[in-house]
Point group: C2
Chain length 396, copies 2
C-alpha cells in the first residue's frame, strides 16, 4: 500500500528541533522538507546534513509548497504567533510544549487551526512515550480494574543544562514548571484520560544563581476517579535514572555522572553558556540513531485495583496478583516517542483519525501548569473543573 508522505518544516533547530529532525528521518510517512532557524551555524549544519533548505525565518518555510506541516520548536513566547501563521498558511501544526504560557494564547492557536482546517498537535511530551500510551490502553481496557493512583518521581540535572537567560526566568516561562512538569502532567492526563479536578502543589527555588523553580511536588486529582502524585527536582543531585537501570530519559545507556552538568557550567559567562546551549544541544549535537531502550521520564507507577503498571527500560512491568511480567512495548518503525508524535500527525492528516494530544489537550495541560504555579505561590488548592466545591477554597 502506498501512503502519502507529508513534507515537514522544522521551525527552530535547537534541542527539540534537532531531535525531531532525527526522528523525522526514521518515519516512513514523513519527508524532512525545510527548516527555519536564525542561527547561521545551525542552518548550515542542517543544510549540509539533510540536503534540504534552511531559511532564516518562518515565512520562508510557510511559503513552500512542499511543506505540508510544521513543527514549531521556537522559544515559548513565539509559539502562538508561529502556530497561527502556519495555520493561516494552510500548514498542519505540531507545537512543542508548553503549548503557550497563557490560556488565551492556546485559544488563539486552537481557533486558527479550526478556522483554517488544519490539524493541531501539541508535542513532543513524554505523554507520547510508547510505554505511556501502552499503559493508557491497558488501563482503558479495564483488564486491571479501576485506576487508583499514578505516581512519578523524576530527579534530573535540568537546571544546570546550558540556558538562555529567559529559560531561568519564571515570568518568561523558564524553570521546571513550564518545561518539565508539562511532561508529568501529559503522562498523567494521557493515562487517566479525565479532566483535572484540582491541584495542590509546592515549588522551590533552591539556587539563587538559577533563580527559577527547580523542584516541585504536586497532587493532581482527576474528576471522578484517579490521582496523580508528581515529584520533580532538577538540581543535579540525586539522579532517578539510578532506579531505571541507568537508562537516560531518551532511552540510551547513561554513565553515572553526578555533578557533571554543574561542572560543565563552571566559570562560563552568560554568553558562553548561551553558546554552549547550541553546541551541546542544538541540531546535529546529538546522536542521529534511535535509542536502544524506551524513552521515559523518571519512575512511573500506575496503581490499578488489579496491578501496578510500571514503566521499565524496555516495556511495561505489570505487577499483578500472581507475579511480575514485562510486557514489551510493540516495536515501531520510527524513533520511539518523537516518532509517535509524527505518527499522530500522519494518522490525523492522512487517515482522518482525531489526534489524542490535540489543541484542547495541550490547553488543559497549560491550565494545569498555571494552576500548579498558582497553588505553589498562594499555598492553597486550585480547582480547575468542579465549580460546586469552589467555596472550600480559602479566600485570602
Amino acid at each position: 500500500m502506498n501512503e502519502r508522505t507529508l513534507g515537514l518544516g522544522l521551525i527552530g533547530l535547537g534541542l527539540a528541533g534537532g531531535v525531531m529532525a532525527a526522528a523525522a528521518r526514521t518515519h516512513p510517512g514523513i519527508r524532512l522538507a525545510a527548516a527555519a532557524e536564525p542561527d547561521p551555524e545551525l542552518r548550515q549544519r542542517f543544510e549540509q546534513a539533510e540536503g534540504a533548505p534552511a531559511h532564516a525565518d518562518i515565512d520562508g518555510v510557510l511559503a513552500r509548497a512542499d511543506v505540508d506541516a510544521v513543527y514549531v520548536a521556537t522559544p515559548h513566547q513565539l509559539h502562538r504567533a508561529h502556530a497561527v501563521a502556519a495555520a493561516e498558511a494552510g500548514k498542519h501544526v505540531i507545537v512543542e510544549k508548553p503549548m503557550a504560557l497563557s490560556v488565551a494564547d492556546c485559544d488563539a492557536m486552537i481557533e486558527a487551526a479550526a478556522a483554517n482546517g488544519v490539524v493541531l498537535i501539541v508535542g513532543h511530551t513524554h505523554g507520547f512515550d510508547p510505554a505511556v500510551t501502552m499503559i493508557r490502553d491497558l488501563v482503558a481496557s479495564g483488564a486491571y480494574g479501576p485506576l487508583g493512583m499514578i505516581a512519578m518521581w523524576n530527579y534530573t540535572d535540568f537546571l544546570y543544562r546550558p540556558r538562555r537567560p529567559e529559560e531561568l526566568d519564571s515570568a518568561r516561562g523558564g524553570g521546571i514548571l513550564y518545561n518539565q512538569i508539562p511532561h508529568q502532567i501529559d503522562i498523567a492526563r494521557t493515562i487517566a484520560d479525565r479532566p483535572v479536578r484540582s491541584v495542590r502543589a509546592t515549588a522551590a527555588v533552591l539556587d539563587p544563581a538559577r533563580p527559577t523553580e527547580g523542584a516541585c511536588a504536586a497532587l493532581v486529582e482527576f474528576a471522578g476517579q484517579g490521582t496523580a502524585n508528581l515529584v520533580y527536582s532538577g538540581y543535579d543531585h540525586f539522579d532517578s535514572d539510578e532506579l531505571h537501570g541507568w537508562i537516560a530519559e531518551g532511552g540510551s545507556p547513561k554513565k553515572r555522572a553526578h555533578g557533571a552538568a554543574r561542572r560543565r557550567l563552571d566559570g562560563l559567562t552568560p554568553a558562553e553558556e548561551r553558546r554552549a546551549r547550541t553546541s551541546d544541544f542544538g541540531y546535529g549535537a546529538r546522536s542521529p540513531l534511535p535509542p536502544p531502550h524506551q524513552p521515559h521520564f523518571g519512575e512511573l507507577v500506575v496503581t490499578c485495583a488489579g496491578a501496578d503498571l510500571r514503566c521499565g527500560p524496555d516495556g511495561v512491568i505489570a505487577y499483578t496478583d500472581d507475579g511480575v511480567e514485562v510486557l514489551p512495548v510493540p516495536g515501531r518503525p520510527w524513533w520511539p516517542g518523537r516518532g509517535d508524535v509524527l505518527q499522530e500527525l500522519v494518522d490525523a492528516v492522512v487517515h482522518g483519525r482525531a489526534a489524542f494530544h490535540d489543541g484542547e489537550f495541550g490547553r488543559e495541560t497549560v491550565r494545569t501548569c498555571l494552576a500548579i504555579a498558582e497553588s505553589a505561590r498562594d499555598r492553597r488548592e486550585v480547582f480547575l473543573s468542579a465549580p460546586e466545591v469552589a467555596r472550600h477554597v480559602p479566600v485570602r
Copy 2:
C-alpha cells in the same frame, strides 16, 4: 560508669510487642521485666523464652515494683485506657502508633503523663530509624542548606498480612491511614521539625474483600518551609524494596515474593486468618537477631538546596554538588530503630533529656492522619496550623 537499668513491661505480645521484646534484649539500659497478653499461647512462649512473668491483663504488670515503664502495644482503641492506667500507676509509657484515634484521647494521655510526672513517648515508628534521625540532624546542621522537599514512595503487601476484623475497618482505625501513613508522617515531621500547615490527600479502597484504604497520596506542607510528598500502596503488587536492594522494611535481606502475601491468605476463614496473625507475626514468630542492614520505610529522598539525602540500606546517601557519598549510620549497641525508641526512654528517664517523639509530637501525627483522612473524604485541602484558617480544622 554504672547506669540504672529500666524494667520494661510489654503490654501486648502481637507483632509490635514481639519485635520490641527482641529489641529490649539488645538494649543495655533495659531489663525485660514482664508482659501482659490475653492469648495463653503467646504468654507461654514469652515466659519460656524470657524467664519473666506474663500476666493475662495489664493490671498485673502495673502492680509490679520491678516495672519502671511499659510499652503499650495493644489494639488502637485500648491505647488511651492503657496509657492512662500506666501513668496513674507511676509507670513511664511508650505507646505504639497510632497514639490514638482522636485528639481527645491523645490529650487525655498527655495530661495523665504530666499529672503523674512520667515520660510519654510515641513509637515505634520509622521516625526513629537511625537513618531518619541522621538526616534530621544533617538538615538541622545547615550543612546542606535549607530544606526543600521530602519525597517518599512505599509499595508493600500491608493489606494482605493476616488481620483481625477491626484492622480492615477504617472506622475502628483499620487500613493504611492509621497504621502505615503515621510512619511516613513521623519520618517527615522528624526531618522537617516544623508544624504541619496543611494537607491535601487522596486515598483509595481498591479491593472490596479488604474494605479499607489501601493506597494513599498526600502532599503535606509545613509551616514556613518544606513539603512532604507521600505515596503509599499496600496492595501487594509492586514492591518498592526492589529499589532498595531487596532489603526488607526491618533491615533484613528479602526474597522476591510478589503475590506471596495474597496467596498465604487464600481460602483462610476469618478465624483462621486471625490465628495466622498470631502464628505469623506474634511474639516469637520472628528472628530474635538484629537485622544486618538499616530499617527503612520505602524510598526516601530529602531535597535540600545543597544535596539530596537518600535513605539507603546501610546509611544516608548524600548526592551533593560534587558527587555521591554514603554516610554510614553510626553503630548502635542495640536493635536499630526499636532500640532507639528505648534509648529515647532511657535518655528521658535516666538523663532527664526531653523526648523528641513525645506526646505532643504523637498528637500532631494523629491530627495529621485525621486531616489526611478528612482531605481524602472531602476532596479538599485541610489546614492544621495557620490560625487564620483554623476554622477548616474539624472539631472531633
